[in-house]
Structures are given as C-alpha cells and as structure tokens.
C-alpha cells in the first residue's frame, strides 16, 4: 500500500495493519523533521510533490521490493504540506517471515524514495528559506535575508 497524504501520518494505524500471523519480523522506518539542517535552525518545512507521478513511482518501488524479497505487507507513505519539527514526514514499513528480508527491504524502500520519487522539500529558517535539492544541497536563490 503506497500513498501521499496531506494529513498527519498515523504510525500506530500503519503498525496495526502491517503485521500478520505469518510474519515474524516487521521493520519500520520513520523519518521525522529535524530542528537543524545544513547548519541552520529549521523552523518548519514544506513538502510538495508531483503527486500522481510520486504515487506511481512508490507503487513501482513496492513492486521492486516484492520481486527482490519474500515479503508480506508493505506500507510506504509520504506526507506533503507544511510540517514542523518532530512531525513524521515518511514511513516505510515491511513485514516478512524473517527479519533479514524485513530490514533489507525497508532500507531499500526509503533509499529509493529519496532517490527517485518526485517530492521536494523547502526549509524555513529564521534567516530565510531554501529548497533542498537532492539529498545534500540547498538552493539559496529562494531567499536568505542579508
């Protein structure tokens, strides 16, 4: 199950749906908004997505995962809109008979999401705003105060 949502991610609900009587292990990755980034203090941030393409690519990631490992349930969910420090931005959850598959697939899922899914993060600092471009850089053209 994959989705892009605008409302808070309910991790407990995801957990309730992910386990199954045939599963021995579930791995869950929870990505939250940090209070610092690129040496600046983050006040809030905004995720925007090319939503239909993002959902299509997340579904393709689920397919890839099922081809590579024997898995039971998969949940990949990303939130968009304005988020604050501590808010959950993304969850990848995988249940499997054995823990090795659960860990590998869960790691693969979040790595792939960060690599290919068309979602962009704009960070708001006291000093201004910036788009995060890729996993390591920020683009200051948006506007830092002098």
């Amino acid at each position: 199950m994959v989705s892009i949502i605008q409302t808070p991610i309910q991790v407990s609900q995801i957990l309730a749906g992910i386990s199954s009587p045939i599963s021995g292990g579930t791995d869950v990755f929870i990505g939250t908004v940090r209070n610092h980034s690129h040496g600046l203090r983050v006040e809030s941030l905004e995720y925007t997505a090319y939503i239909p393409m993002a959902e299509k690519l997340m579904a393709a990631i689920e397919d890839e995962m099922r081809k590579k490992w024997m898995l039971h349930n998969i949940v990949l969910v990303h939130r968009v809109g304005v988020l604050h420090v501590g808010d959950v931005a993304v969850v990848t959850a995988v249940s499997a008979s054995h823990r090795n598959e659960a860990f590998e697939a869960c790691r693969f899922a979040i790595d792939r999401i960060k690599e290919v899914v068309p979602i962009w993060k704009k960070e708001f600092y006291e000093e201004g705003t910036a788009w995060v471009v890729g996993q390591h850089d920020i683009d200051l053209a948006g506007g830092m105060k002098e």
Binding site: G31, Y47, T48, A49, Y50, P52, M53, A54, K56, H78, A89, V90, I110, I113, K114, E115, V116, V117, P118, I119, W120, K121, K122, W131, V132, V133, G134, Q135, D137, D139, A141, G142
Partner: protein, 82 residues
C-alpha cells in the same frame, strides 16, 4: 509544432511562478528542444539544466525522447523527499 503540458515543481516552479505551462514545441520535438524553449523565456533556468531529469507522462526518460502532442512533461529538479 506540437503542444505539450509542462508541469513545474520546487525551485523551477519558483523561478517560473507557475504550476503549469502549455508549450508549443518546434521540431525536432525533443525534451532538449522543450527545455531550450523554456530558457528563452527565462534564462535563470539555464543553471538547472545539468541537474534536472525529464519525465514524460510521469516516466523518467532521456532528453532526446521525442515528444508527441498531448504529452505531459516535467523537468524534475533533484528530489528531496524522505
């Protein structure tokens, strides 16, 4: 000329101040052709050329992909989800 819909996101959206544009792309109708057309209207986009990827109808493809009328295209700046 062919007509395509261009979607704009992230920093490219901020440069163009638009979510979407209709483009009339001249021959040879490639992804590159569309990007060059766009930079004519706003040269600030030039700096993004090395880092954007092209998606046509929501699939990543190469810049020499030949566009058809009615395609939905997007120049995808480096993503930062997660």
């Amino acid at each position: 000329m062919i007509n395509v819909t261009l979607k704009l996101f992230g920093p490219l959206r901020d440069v163009m101040q638009r979510d979407e544009l209709q483009l009339q792309v001249p021959p040879p109708y490639k992804g590159d052709t569309a990007f060059e057309l766009l930079t004519l209207s706003n040269p600030l986009l030039l700096r993004w050329r090395p880092s954007v990827r092209l998606a046509v109808n929501m699939e990543y493809t190469s810049f020499d992909h030949v566009l058809k009328s009615g395609d939905e295209i997007c120049f995808i700046p480096p993503v930062s989800g997660g």
